[in-house]
């Protein structure tokens, strides 16, 4: 067994099996560290992993991710596993799973797309063309997202 070089958490979420180097992207789209919060967030980068060779791990104290946030993570870390921790025990463990379509999670890169027209009552919507690595296509203008991580709307 590989022992993580970060402290276990009492309550919160552990995002494991993030591709090595992607932890900071995960932090960004989750809006971490949250302003005004004193809860502990631990990041492990380039940790040894039997499955992946190397991986990143993010542990967030006092916060349970909701399904929308899990969807977002799946777009930059499609192989991640998410464990909800309550009183040092794993209360729920799940592998991230991309839905067929996502709404208001990513921005269309096409500036001429109607979803980027501020005045219109429209939320961005993307069709998932491929899970791993994730490929997204705007459901409105049809443009494929070139930089998925950069297109994600920060928390």
């Amino acid at each position: 067994m590989i022992e993580l070089k970060v402290q276990p958490i009492k309550n919160g979420t552990v995002i494991d099996h993030i591709a090595a180097g992607q932890a900071l992207q995960v932090m960004r789209i989750l809006g971490l560290p949250a302003e005004g919060s004193h809860s502990i967030v631990s990041i492990g980068m380039n940790l040894p992993s039997e499955k992946m060779g190397q991986k990143d791990v993010v542990k967030i104290e006092d916060r349970e991710l909701d399904p929308r946030e899990v969807n977002k993570i799946s777009l930059i870390a499609p192989s991640a596993t998410i464990s909800i921790i309550r009183n040092y025990q794993i209360a729920k463990k799940s592998v991230v799973q991309l839905p067929k379509e996502i709404t208001a999670l990513a921005r269309c890169e096409n500036l001429s797309c109607i979803t980027n027209a501020r005045s219109e009552p429209v939320q961005s919507r993307h069709v998932i063309m491929q899970r791993d690595p994730p490929r997204l296509q705007c459901a409105y203008c049809g443009r494929e997202v070139r930089d998925v991580a950069a297109s994600l709307v920060p928390a």
């Binding site: 109607i114 219109e120 705007c138 459901a139 409105y140 203008c141």
Partner: protein, 325 residues
């Protein structure tokens, strides 16, 4: 036996052509069977389109044309189509005259027009605008061009023209020349042609090549795509030469533009190398990529192609609103 065969195939065609109430946003929303059935239907509207036959099957119905960008052929063609079917048309072609100018959103204008008309035709500078309009409208929305995005009725009339002139689409060699990068008509046409067993030859300057994703999508569907830079060399094998305009604003250097535009100019001298039954198409407006001398040649089909917009749009309006040939 033939009666049995007909019975067996008829339901498939009927399903393929059940377009009532449907939105026409992207040619990619339509499969080969649907396109084939539609092209058959459009042919049946030719007598009414030319005025040989009277058709009033959309009498009392209203089409709203919302044109946020200038258009001559497309708007006139939709209006003529609706009138030829006995219906009437409301709308605008100068957004400066509408409440859009006062800051009204497209979504609001669409909801208003939707309560006045039975179908909406939209041209708008933003890509994806027709998809949004279709979400807000109860009635069918037809995309008549959304920025650099889609223009599905242009693709349908292009396919109709090829089929009318060549009597088939499968087996043809189709050469596309000009600006293949920015031209939306070309992207949609390539996507639709990929349903057929055709050889598509792409002739363009290196800076104006077909985007990779458009080519990849066509190849995924089994299309044969070849790239070339020398039009003269590929012309002898062509059944269809589809010419598009190269816009000067795509070039930083005017000299470079002149060189490129000149090398893809279609003249009678160039066409002397072509097959006798080659047809030359162009979505229009043309500037100088086809010399006017070609207009009188037996190859020229671009004005017929433009005219084919009428039976095609009549067939489309009829299919969406329950009209008949």
């Amino acid at each position: 036996v033939s009666a049995n065969l007909e019975a067996a195939t008829a339901p498939a065609r009927a399903t393929a052509m059940d377009w009532r109430g449907r939105d026409v946003v992207s040619i990619r929303d339509f499969g080969r069977a649907e396109i084939d059935a539609f092209l058959d239907l459009a042919e049946r509207f030719v007598p009414a389109a030319t005025g040989q036959k009277r058709n009033t099957s959309l009498e009392g119905r209203i089409l709203a044309t919302l044109f946020y960008e200038p258009s001559t052929r497309t708007r006139l063609s939709f209006e003529a189509a609706m009138h030829r079917l006995g219906g009437s048309v409301i709308g605008f072609s100068d957004p400066g005259m509408t409440s859009g100018k006062k800051g009204e959103t497209l979504a609001d204008t669409v909801r208003v027009a939707d309560r006045l008309a039975d179908a909406l035709v939209l041209r708008h500078p933003k890509e994806g605008s027709s998809r949004l309009a279709a979400e807000y409208a109860e009635h069918p929305v037809i995309n008549a061009g959304d920025g650099a995005g889609e223009h599905p009725t242009q693709t349908l009339l292009d396919l109709f023209t090829i089929k009318q002139e060549c009597r088939r689409i499968d087996g043809l060699t189709i050469v596309l020349v000009g600006d293949l990068k920015f031209g939306r008509t070309v992207h949609s046409l390539v996507s639709a042609l990929a349903h057929y067993s055709v050889k598509i030859v792409l002739v363009s300057p290196p800076s104006l090549q077909l985007p990779d994703e458009v080519a990849a999508e066509a190849r995924e569907r089994g299309a044969t795509l070849e790239a070339a830079t020398d039009l003269e060399a590929v012309l002898p094998e062509a059944d269809v030469l589809y010419v598009t305009r190269i816009q000067q604003e795509r070039f930083a250097d005017p000299e470079e533009y002149r060189k490129v535009a000149g090398s893809y100019r279609v003249t009678n001298a160039l066409l002397a190398r072509a097959r006798r039954d080659l047809i030359v198409m162009h979505p229009l407006p043309r500037v100088d990529e086809i010399h006017p001398e070609v207009d009188a040649s037996p190859h020229a089909r671009y004005f017929d192609q433009s005219g084919n917009g009428l039976p095609v749009r009549m067939a489309l309006l009829a299919a969406l609103l329950g009209g008949k040939p």
